[in-house]
Every structure is written in C-alpha cells, then in structure tokens.
Symmetry: C2
DNA sequence: CGACTCATTGACGTAGCTCAAGGTATGTGG
DNA sequence: CCACATACCTTGAGCTACGTCAATGAGTCG
C-alpha cells in the first residue's frame, strides 16, 4: 500500500530503450536552468535520464509552491489534449545538471496508443500524482503546521534525492514552499524538533536522529503500514 | 483555456453505447446510499448514467473534505494497478437517486487497451482532476477564506449541478467541507457577501445576484479568460 | 405543533503571519 | 589566508484571521 511521494524516480525507467527508438531530441540543462518558464505552454514531454527537476507553481501574490521533484527515469508532465489555465503558472527548473529526452506531445500520445505497457505505466504515474495531491488538499490541510512538517520529513525520509534515509536535502525555504507556510513558521517548527532531539538542522539539509519519535508525531494517513 | 471544476459531467458521454457492449452490471443507488464506503478497496469503476455522487475524504480527526461531484456521463474512479493508502479514506455517496454501469478494474483496463478514444478521454479526465487538485493545493491554499469562498462560488456558477447560473445548490456545511474551513467561518464570509448585496443566502442554496462584484473578488487564477 | 436541520451571531483563544534584528556557515577576491 | 559578501538560519514582538464554544433563530416535515 503506497504512501504519497514528493520525489519521483524510476517510474518509467524500463522504457528507456524504447524511448530511444522513438522520435525525440536530446536536451541537457545546467543547474538553475528552466525546463519550462512561467507562461510557457506545455507543448512537449521530458524523459529525465539524469539529474533532478523541481516543479513549482507561482501564486499571483508572489508565493511559490513547490509541487514535486522529478528525477531519473521519470517523465514530466503528461500529455493531454486540453489546456488548463493553471499550467501557465507552472515553472520547472533544473536542481542539478540534467540530461533529458524531449518528445512532442503528439509523439508521446502516439507512443501511448502503440505501447500498452507505456499507457498502463502512465496511468499509474497519474494515479500516483493524484495521490500526492489528494493527500495535500484533503489531508494535510487539516493538520497543524507542526504535524505537516513531521509528515513531510517522514515522507522525504522514504523517498528523497539523497537516497540516504535520515538525510533530508531541503532548505528551510524549500520546506516552507512545499508546505505553503512561511519560512519563519517552518523555522520555528524545526526548532521544536531540534529541541526535542528528533532532528539536527544543518545548513541546507536536515538530519533525522530519532526516526521513531518523528513517526510518533506523524498522522496515520502518512505512515507506511 | 480551462478553469478548475468541482462538478464533473458528460466527460465520457460519447462512450455510453460502447460501454453497453462491454461486460458490466447495472447498479442503481438510492439517495444517501454509498457507492463506496470508507476502507472499501476501489475494485471497480462506475459509469454514471443519471444522478450525482459526491466523493469525500475523511481525516482521522473527524474532518470531512468534499473533493468532487460526479454526474451523468462520467466515470469514477480511474483504474490503475497500484493501491494507495489514502484510497481507504475515500467514500462516495449518492446525492440523488443514481443509475450506473459497474465495470471491474480489469474489464476497464482492457477497454482502455482496446479503445484509443477511450484512453485519450481518460487521460483528459485525469488531467482535469489534477488541474482541480493543483488549484486547491497550490493556489487556494494561499488565499484568505473570503477569497476562497468567492472563487468557489464563481467556479460553481460555471459548473454546477443545478445547471442554472446564479444558483448554487450547496449548504453552508458543504461549502465548509469543500474549502476545508469551519461551518462558522463559511457562514461569516457568506454574511459579508450578503451584506455587500452580492448573494442572497437561502436554505440549502445560494443565489448570486451580482456576478460582476463577485468576479472582482476572485483571484486571477480562477477567472475564465 | 414539536422535532429536526440549517443558518446567524457573539465572545474569546491561539496558530501562524508580518516585521525586524541579529547570528552563523559558505564562497569569493584581493 | 583573511576580509568581506551573501545566503541561510534563529529568535522576538505584535497582530489578525480563523478556530472553538455557545446560544438563538428560522425554514421544513411528519
């Protein structure tokens, strides 16, 4: 039974060879470079060979929400035939150097029609993304910011860029942007976890030193059974 | 360019004849009856012929969030091959008397493999649902509860069960459950809109009498261009 | 008419926001 | 290798939106 994940990896890894046989162009990105800027229409799909990208949504009042991270073996976004206003508020940025394969929407839809496994895999990826979003909008919304934070640390300790459990590579600002709270509030809740000897805050990353105590704070919806 | 919708209708209406040729059973529901209870695994898919269902998520502290409404010509949920913990917190209830076709997950996946149009339509429906959820978790989260409410009324005036613009068939409790706020807070914000002569609150429904003034309060992300 | 559900309003407490001042790692150029 | 700049983190004080608790009113139905 799956819990939500913010960090996606290897969802489509098995299709790499297949993708190479299909019409595409290779595109590499430097750290900090945009895969999509704000207002840019989502006209194509990236398959990530290596590196990590972050998807953010910009609110008209200047707030920026981090939605998800996409690493090797994943595609983003997913092709469809409608166009949604909110897509104009999405930006995707390389967190590290990246190698990708770039497909047009049409080419990708064509692949979905021809390759059943790819189609099923795409549905599963959509389901996984919906799961994350439902978790945020229907569950986390009711939790206090302290519980939200504990849940986030727990989920990242299960699925994180570092690969190391107990090491969360996020700044306080990142955390605030994921949880749609202020940096100050994130800092205060982290201070509480530090005072309770559950984490050690470092510069740009956080060390979990008492996983059990952390889990005890998490909401039931969050915990891996 | 599409704005979010809470109320889904006619997404799959064109497939009704096709669905009838596929293995299914007819199931009808009384008002208030469950299509799914809490903890019940999502082992099949419903196509709604008539009536309306509401999907809710239950938080462990007793809060109940209304996620979406599903009316004639829609299917819910979508088949996939994973199983997510949060699915156990989903309940779907008939708001009115309903007629449905019920498919097993396997049968539905088989149809997706065989019918390209259905597959494309399913992807579009997923995209539309993701759009709603992104809107909630990345945009509405930053708005004050007053703006949230205005946005909701605007969106429902574009897509609502009644079909009549200017008529919103929701109780204050429903509104609070959609916006994850308390009934009291929803009532206070409605009182403000009433005092400003933008709405007339009735029992179990709300009348919008000044659509322009309402739109002036809505966030940009919400408004149909 | 009584019972029920839904809506209104007040009093009060607090979580989380804003504004603000400082502290501490990391990187850069002289 | 030190001086300095920059990014990141910490902490305090005050404000307010929203939650909680509670009492009352107003439609609807048997």
């Amino acid at each position: 039974m799956l819990i939500p994940r913010y960090f996606f990896a290897n969802t489509f890894a098995g299709f790499y060879e297949y993708f190479l046989t299909q019409p595409h162009i290779r595109r590499n990105f430097q750290k900090e470079e945009y895969l999509w800027r704000l207002d840019e229409p989502l006209t194509h799909v990236y398959y990530v060979i290596s590196g990590v990208a972050v998807a953010t949504l910009e609110h008209e009042d200047g707030f920026r929400k981090i939605s998800s991270f996409h690493s090797s073996g994943t595609i983003f976004p997913v092709s469809h035939q409608s166009s949604f206003k909110i897509e104009q508020s999405i930006a995707v940025t390389a967190v590290s150097e990246m190698e990708t394969l770039c497909f047009t929407n049409e080419a990708f839809l064509q692949m979905l029609c021809e390759n059943r496994q790819l189609m099923l895999c795409t549905l599963n990826w959509y389901a996984s993304y919906v799961n994350l979003l439902l978790y945020e909008s229907a569950h986390q919304d009711y939790n206090s910011s302290f519980i939200k934070l504990c849940n986030l640390l727990y989920l990242f300790s299960h699925n994180s860029p570092s690969g190391q459990e107990g090491r969360i590579d996020l700044t306080q600002e990142n955390i605030a942007q994921i949880l749609t709270m202020t940096r100050v509030n994130a800092a205060r809740n982290l201070a509480r976890l530090r005072d309770e000897k559950i984490i050690i805050p470092h510069r740009r990353w956080i060390e979990i030193i008492d996983q059990q105590a952390l889990e005890a704070y998490c909401s039931l919806e969050t915990l891996q059974p």
